[in-house]
């Protein structure tokens, strides 16, 4: 990470203001007017549109291995997806993924 301290604080401040305005938007400012259905429909997909695209490169080409695909990390992330989907619960997915990650790192002598 090579941002200056001021740049990091700028990011934090703008994110704080932006996030607050998003949360405040309708409740505080826009009032009871309905949003266009297409906008609502698109908004519903934002988390599921952003997060997978962030994970895929990290899972396939982790920084820690210099961008080499690494079977233990890949297996771990697939287990996270499977378990969190199956249990409909993020926490179970995290625990299962961490278990697989450490078991794999130990088994392959990386830990």
């Amino acid at each position: 990470m090579n941002y200056s301290s001021a740049e990091i604080w700028l990011i934090i401040a703008l994110l704080a203001v932006g996030t607050y305005l998003i949360r405040f938007s309708f409740l505080g400012l826009i009032g009871d007017r309905p949003m266009p259905p297409l906008v609502l429909k698109l908004l519903r997909f934002t988390p599921v549109a952003v997060l997978p695209g962030m994970v895929a490169p990290l899972a396939l080409f982790p920084d820690a291995t210099g961008g080499e695909t690494e079977p233990v990390r890949l297996a771990s992330i697939l287990v996270v997806l499977a378990v969190s989907w199956w249990r409909k619960n993020a926490l179970w997915g995290i625990l299962a993924g961490i278990a697989v990650l450490y078991a794999g790192l130990i088994a392959t002598g990386q830990l």
Binding site: M1, Y3, E7, I11, I12, L14, L15, A16, T19, Y20, I22, R23, S25, F26, L27, G28, G31, P34, L38, K41, L42, L43, R44, F45, T46, P47, V48, A49, V50, L51, P52, G53, M54, V55, A56, P57, L58, A59, L60, F61, P62, D63, A64, R73, S76, I77, V80, L81, S84, W86, R87, K88, A90, L91, G93, I94, L101, L105, Q110, L111
Partner: protein
């Protein structure tokens, strides 16, 4: 409305919000660990959790910062993750629109996934609550989660600095993200959006940090909305 009912509604909110600590505690701890791994200072890490106070967006911003993305792209990615909260805000209007301004302003600060969802469940079950009581309930649900979020972040940041790199803490962020994705895959449209997001992001890896992700997200939202529209017609 008497003071005692406001108090009892608030207390019920606190009780109903308590189970969510199981979720907030590890998430916030992991954020503290990941942020200190990435090289942020303690004050900055606290700033994130106290001022932004939004798990997925904090992780998204952190990952973009680890990749040294342009500041505008860091903000875009993190705020895109938070756009769903505009929907929460809209959905709360029928319940809290008539509540006092100070309550609405405070509820906006503590409008997270958990507090929103729990409050909406309660509002459906108890339509007799006044807007002000509903506001008190919301504040009750959030009043344990919010401080826990900040304190656990600090704990994670302090612990994270003493953990050696063999422990693969670099992989905490992808694991957290993936775990948030699983429960969201509720329909074919969501799966299609997630798949599009992965495919486009991987195809555009050559672009400057963060740029490919933003394009991938827009494509994925369009695909998700298109598949949903198509399924409604079928």
């Amino acid at each position: 409305m008497t003071a005692s009912t406001a108090k009892s509604v608030y207390r019920k909110g606190v009780r109903d919000g308590a189970p969510f600590l199981l979720m907030a505690l590890p998430f916030a701890t992991f954020f503290g660990v990941a942020a200190s791994e990435a090289g942020l200072q303690l004050a900055q890490i606290i700033g994130f959790s106290l001022l932004v106070i939004a798990g997925a967006a904090q992780f998204a911003a952190l990952q973009m910062m680890i990749d040294n993305a342009a500041i505008a792209l860091v903000l875009l990615a993190a705020l895109a993750v938070n756009l769903r909260m505009a929907m929460y805000s809209a959905a709360l209007v029928p319940h809290l629109g008539a509540a006092p301004f100070w309550q609405r302003a405070l509820v906006a600060y503590i409008n997270f996934d958990q507090s929103y969802m729990q409050s909406m469940i309660e509002y459906e079950e108890r339509p007799e609550l006044t807007p002000t009581q509903k506001g008190w309930y919301f504040m009750g649900v959030a009043s344990l989660i919010a401080p826990t979020w900040v304190i656990a972040t600090i704990a994670g940041a302090l612990v994270g600095q003493s953990i050696p790199p063999e422990y693969a803490l670099d992989f905490v962020v992808p694991i957290m993200f993936m775990a948030m994705v699983g429960p969201m895959l509720k329909s074919l449209a969501h799966v299609a959006a997630a798949f599009t997001s992965c495919a486009v992001a991987l195809a555009l890896l050559g672009l400057p940090s963060g740029m490919g992700l933003i394009i991938a997200a827009f494509c994925a939202m369009a695909v998700g909305a298109a598949v949903e529209t198509w399924m409604e017609r079928a």
